[in-house]
Point group: C2
Chain length 327, copies 2
Amino acid sequence: MSIVDVEEIEYARRRIAPFIHKTPIETSLTFDEMFAFGRNVYFKCENLQKCGSFKIRGAMNSVIKAKEEKPLLKTVMTRSSGNFGGGLAYSAKLHDLNCYIVSPQRGSELKRHIAESYGATVKLYKSTFADRDNLIARVKEETGAEYIESSAQESTLCGQGTCGLEILEQVPEVDAVIVPCGGGGLLSGIATAMKTRKPDVKVYGVEHSHALNAKRSFDKGSLFIPEELPATICDGLGNTTLSQLTLDHILEYVDDIIPVPDEESVQAVKFLMYRVKMAVEPSGAIAAAVLMDPKNIEKYFKHCNNIVVVLSGGNFDFINKATLLQT
Amino acid sequence: MSIVDVEEIEYARRRIAPFIHKTPIETSLTFDEMFAFGRNVYFKCENLQKCGSFKIRGAMNSVIKAKEEKPLLKTVMTRSSGNFGGGLAYSAKLHDLNCYIVSPQRGSELKRHIAESYGATVKLYKSTFADRDNLIARVKEETGAEYIESSAQESTLCGQGTCGLEILEQVPEVDAVIVPCGGGGLLSGIATAMKTRKPDVKVYGVEHSHALNAKRSFDKGSLFIPEELPATICDGLGNTTLSQLTLDHILEYVDDIIPVPDEESVQAVKFLMYRVKMAVEPSGAIAAAVLMDPKNIEKYFKHCNNIVVVLSGGNFDFINKATLLQT
């Protein structure tokens, strides 16, 4: 088992700093009063990150590292349901590389367009893991691309962890953080950075409750990979699972994984849109939804006063896909 | 003709400061590159103001002043298609006053709910100015309420002007400002504050091009009041006209009024939602739309390098009324 060192995350931070935003922290007194019983809630706004999500952090770090190691590198590829594809496409463009993205048909069209707008070629697979893996193999063979993992790769994980270092600087009084979890890269990275630097901080992952892949893996201490992934409004989380690398970090550093039903993620999207005036996609708002259920406050945050909620992305076609949010 | 003094706006600022936000300035490099040919554009985010629009500034100032002058005051009222109603309701609640809002049936339901959520009673009229004035008279008689003008009152205008003082502090290099114009309170207030303190700054109003009430009044130098107001997606601007008070200030301090078609306001809403991740209502985004038409840059902003765009409000039911934006 290999666990990354926080020094590597610090190094990633210096490497990607010129290319990404240090995203702001926002607060909402209304949220604190309505949902957090007066606790201070801090939104870490990765929806305002370049390309609209945290994914650029890991993608940029992996692309720069790959180019350092192979100066003649011409092409990179990945699989992604959306935001990692956009982040990789942008990072590749900035470093004069071609980029291929293998993406599920049911993934977000908007996110596909973002990747294409940065010059990437998107290849679609139909549904199963076998379809996906066949397509990956074919693209790899045809293009000779260097494969960049969207979470199961140390350089990507370290890039995502830079978000945790920023949180520690921006909210030094933080005593708990809630992080969306799909492949687990952001959760692993943030947990590693924050628990190393401030061991008594609570770190919780959150996943949509239709699948519970991460929760089951966490509870039994070994990777649980289901046959198929159920549909969810959280398209950024629902098309992937943990890897051994991210599970190792999660077992080492994360306190628990909290399940949230889609309806509650949608309520969080609406609150953030109507009251905070911020566009956050359902996968990105799921960590806010955790606090909108008083049972969770009682169970996980009873003794926490300064809770950071990571709003991980904002890429959703709010206007044309609004019916999906009309509950 | 009576023109308010900038000292009165300074005084209003001190009066309302404990109750409102100093709203942030946001920027978008993508916007600057795509639309402003490299000029610096600064968004003054009144959509992030308390109650979701600048209107609270004038409402709060007028309510506090009214209570200072009449300590036994029990009830206030106004007419408003939306945001001034919300602002007045909130201000009244904070100062233990009852509040009545006379509102057009075709006004925004969401904005009505905001006013009601702060305890106001909303009374609806059908369509014409006569309907409106009859209803105002009736409510006034029945409740004995003090009538607060949503723009045609010096205390309201001074409150709105506080936004201009903030802009001068936040963007001292400003050489042009674009301000949405319905009743003209925000435009008059900002123009008075900014032209007095920095006479060479350009101040432009912007109104939706279906009616052009403000532009016609501006061009002929006297109040133009149409028989009826055409429908517009800009519900915050389209249900009112200039008053003599606001026209006087506009003639004194404003450089021109720029017309913008509804379709372009909608494009601005979409850009701000998808790229800046910010919820801005169509009336609130209309000033950004000005810069998205290159003809306007050529005509009005050729020699301007630092342009402030006032995003005046963010109260729109984006999810349930999304079809209105699907063009």
